[in-house]
Amino acid sequence: MVAIPSRHRSLVLLATVVLAQVLLLAMQIKRGDQVRLIRVWAVSVITPAQRAVSWSISKVQSGWRNYIGLRGSAQENASLREELNRLKLRNTELESRAAEADRLAALLGFRGSHPDVPMVVARVIGAAAAGASKTIYINRGEADGLRRNMGVITPEGVVGKVIDVYSDTAQVQLLTDKESGMGALLASSRTQSPVGGIGEPMLMMKYITNDEKVPIGERVMTSGLDRIFPKDLPVGTVASTKPGNPFQEIRIRPAARLDQLEEVIVLLSRQELEPQKPAGDAIPRSAAKPASAPR
């Protein structure tokens, strides 16, 4: 124990006694908000220390979290990126499947609405090797009842016709092919004229005289005269008209998305497609000729 010199003892005693009485006073005195002064002092002394300790702890925690704790984060980050890529791929796959399901539902809906018309649904499995040739391959062939010059459609409109048939595949000439042609008519005026491809996304309607008024947006339907497609299937809409010599140059935007074909319907006969009826009036499935879903 530290010895206090005798001449300082009275000073130490004085300081102790005065301090004790100051504390005694502080315990009795209340400030304006009824808080005892001793409490105010204690809080004033302790709070900065608490604040300092809290600040230090938060800094240490922050340092740990932001630096030391991140030691394994690179590996975790790589793992998460890998997981993210896997999930992105999975998401794309699911989106693709959902889109396919929608398309198939549309096809089945179309087929269900024309139960008396024999048709098969086929999947597009390839395209022409040459860019200039607008053809596709489908996964249905002779074994499925396909023959040359059968019409190929989607629920949106005409796609083209079967030009070659193999045992289990077939080649379809799209409407946009330069060699393609079909009988068509303007929906409102019923003016008939062939429609053919020009090797571009647009089709060309031929043999409409210059004095025939053709409004933009006019619907173009199949006429049935080509003996390939039944009457009144949607072919497209008039996109532009220009007077020509001797006939107008009428460009048609195809109704079917010919650049995004994945599933198509092959009409096995030229039987007319009747307008869709309410479900209660539909012809029973048993009366329809056989038709199958895409493989």
Binding site: S10, L14, V18, Q21, V22, L25, I29, R31, L37
Partner: protein, 171 residues
């Protein structure tokens, strides 16, 4: 009993009859509470201060001086409607200071007693005012004519009281 200072001057430390200090302090506190009710202007007196001062100056021991001051001050606080410790602190410091300087000045002459009482009255007042301002947030004045009058009255009284208390010393 004699002790020697640095100048080798003999210093006399007075001793008192048994119970004299206790009795004097108790009487001073009693009168302090009783007189103001009987005599107009008696509230100017601070008999506990004068008793603390006298025994501090006479005993010349800072430790006993401050303890005596503390006890008298706390008792004065207890008998007043003030936070306990105000007069305790003031009289502790008075007892300590009086004991410390008791060996350096002549305490027997009435004039020195008058001056000492006057000075210590203001010393105690200063401590009280500082304490009240710092701890109680009460803006007390350091100087008023009433306080000056009180200091003079207590200083005059000290001359007579100290002579009376001298009779309690052991010869």
């Amino acid at each position: 009993m004699e002790i020697r200072t640095q100048a080798d001057r003999p210093i006399e430390v007075h001793k008192f009859y048994g119970g004299a200090i206790f009795g004097a302090a108790a009487l001073a506190l009693l009168l302090q509470t009783f007189l103001p009710r009987m005599l107009p202007g008696a509230d100017l007196l601070d008999l506990p201060l004068l008793v603390t001062l006298y025994f501090g100056l006479s005993r010349r021991n800072p430790s006993t001086g401050l303890l005596l001051g503390m006890v008298i001050g706390l008792l004065q606080d207890s008998l007043s409607h003030v936070p306990i410790g105000q007069f305790g602190i003031a009289k502790t410091l008075v007892g300590f200071a009086a004991s410390s300087i008791g060996s350096r000045i002549d305490l027997e002459h009435p004039l020195s007693r008058f001056i000492l009482a006057f000075v210590f009255f203001y010393f105690q007042l200063t401590v009280l005012v500082v304490t009240r301002r710092l701890l109680l947030a009460q803006p007390e004045p350091f100087f008023t004519l009433n306080l000056l009058l009180a200091a003079l009255v207590n200083a005059i009284l000290a001359v007579g009281l100290f002579a009376l208390l001298d009779r309690l010393r052991k010869s």
